[in-house]
Amino acid sequence: MEDERLSVRKIVIAGVLSAIAILLGSTRLGFIPVPTPAANATIMHVPAIVGGVLEGWVVGGIVGTIFGLFSFIQAEVPMFKDPLVAILPRIFIGIAAFLGYRALRRLSAPWMLLFAAILLGLAAVFAYDVGQSSLWLAALVAVLSLAGIGVLVYLILKGESDVASLAVAAALGTMTNTGLVLGMGVLRGYMAPNVAWVVAVSHGIPEIIVAAIITVAVVVTWKRVETGRGEARM
């Protein structure tokens, strides 16, 4: 069986995940109302994360690109009608998720806890930095990061390091999406940098939580279904 960089399995899964991304973007299902200025957290980038985690960076990159293309075609706002904002950043969603998952998956529990401690440190530094310009934003960051890292630690202690790695991969993918898209938006002049920061923090964190929940649910269920079937593969 010829297995080039794009095996049959990777082709089909990339295609199917892209279809889901397109479907999520066309129907209301892709948008979850959250209490932030941008009104909706989107989960349309989750198929790219799932692709990166399950099948590698090539599939993740492809699904991300198709998501970006579709987002560009569907865009009704000048900022997202710009290919450098809509398409270019999205290529990296699946790749970032892949890297995060691969790096963390092999770590045993004590190392994972060390990683969580490092995350806590980073979050503290970030909150302090944000606190220089806006105190309420810093409080928001602190509360949400503590909650998120708390959940991670709980998962690690419960022995579910794999789930924790999935959550971190989802967070990385979402941060790539939010960060790079808003970054390009600023670079191209659609948003002022401080506006972009506010949107990134207040909107990005609920989006990370939502993406983590959905990614974990999908991948865990899929793994259970896959091992349950015990199918032979050529």
Binding site: V8, A14, G15, A19, I20, I32, E76, D82, I213
Partner: protein, 285 residues
């Protein structure tokens, strides 16, 4: 979620049949000229260049016979958002942007608000660019059936096979994605109805209850993913059973014909974009 009929929302770049010059062009030509023009639009920041480009794209859309009302009508729900973002851009971006061809003069300043020549140009150029890209995407997707586009894409990527780019495989990904979108939409409808009949009320938990909403959406999304993966596994098995070995040495039933209009379109489109790009820093304003 009262609305179960999802299939009607799924129109990826609706194809509008017609017989214009643009309709008759080879998809490869359309893809290439689209790319050239998008590049020209993306990197033009002056008033003049954008004026030329918006006229050019408008003429092309009229030539293709695509009704302007159709293109602009889809924008209606988004208009308030566009206006708000434009106002924000105008009021707050002033200091950071050096305008093209004009010196950065402050027009109005008050507290946070800082309107300059630069921010005015930014807003106008962004709007024009938005309209140009709208017209260009419409030109591509409204005049070409999507299957033609995937054939065109594969044909254009084929020369890169020698550098390791799996052109056939990539266009197959696109084809599979397009084929699965209506299938999965139907499946999603079935899942929604099944969950609703079991009493799962997908009432969104309000904006503060977004974790609850996420879990309720997961109730729909997870079965959708699982179903999609099952279909994927079936497809993989079917392809392997038919000894699918990728694109090497593969010929195609569909043959794309390159006509004289295509050569003309390539020439005009290419030269025009090249001119705009090359001269982009020499326009007066």
């Amino acid at each position: 979620m009262e609305d179960f009929e999802l299939l009607r929302y799924v129109t990826v770049g609706q194809y509008l049949p017609g017989d214009s010059l643009v309709h008759r062009l080879d998809p490869r030509t359309k893809l290439s000229v689209f790319l050239f023009l998008v590049l020209a639009v993306t990197f033009s920041t002056s008033y003049t260049a954008n004026g030329i480009l918006v006229t050019a794209t408008l003429l092309l859309v009229l030539l293709a016979g695509v009704p302007l009302g159709y293109i602009l009508g889809g924008l209606k729900p988004a208009v308030p958002l566009i206006v708000i973002l434009a106002v924000l851009q105008l009021l707050f971006y002033g200091e950071a942007y050096t305008p093209y061809g004009l010196e950065n003069r402050t027009l109005f300043q008050w507290g946070w608000i800082h309107v300059t020549n630069g921010s005015v140009q930014l807003v106008v150029v962004s709007m024009l660019r938005f309209v140009e890209l709208l017209f260009l995407t419409s030109l591509l997707t409204n005049t070409t059936p999507l299957t033609d586009l995937t054939h065109g894409l594969e044909a254009m990527l084929r020369p890169f096979r020698r550098f390791g780019l799996p052109s056939h495989e990539l266009s197959l990904v696109a084809t599979i994605a397009l084929r699965f979108v209506p299938l999965l939409a139907e499946q999603l409808e079935i899942i929604m109805k099944a969950q609703a009949s079991r009493g799962a009320d997908i009432a969104y938990g309000g904006r503060l209850g977004f974790v609850r909403t996420a879990r309720q959406v997961a109730v729909l999304i997870v079965p959708l993913f699982v179903d999609a993966f099952r279909r994927a596994e079936d497809l993989i098995l079917a392809m392997q059973a038919r000894c699918y070995v990728g694109g090497r040495g593969r010929s195609s039933y569909v043959r794309l014909k390159f006509a004289r209009v295509d050569a003309g379109a390539y020439l005009v489109g290419g030269l025009f974009s090249l001119a705009i790009l090359a001269l982009r820093n020499t326009f007066p304003v």
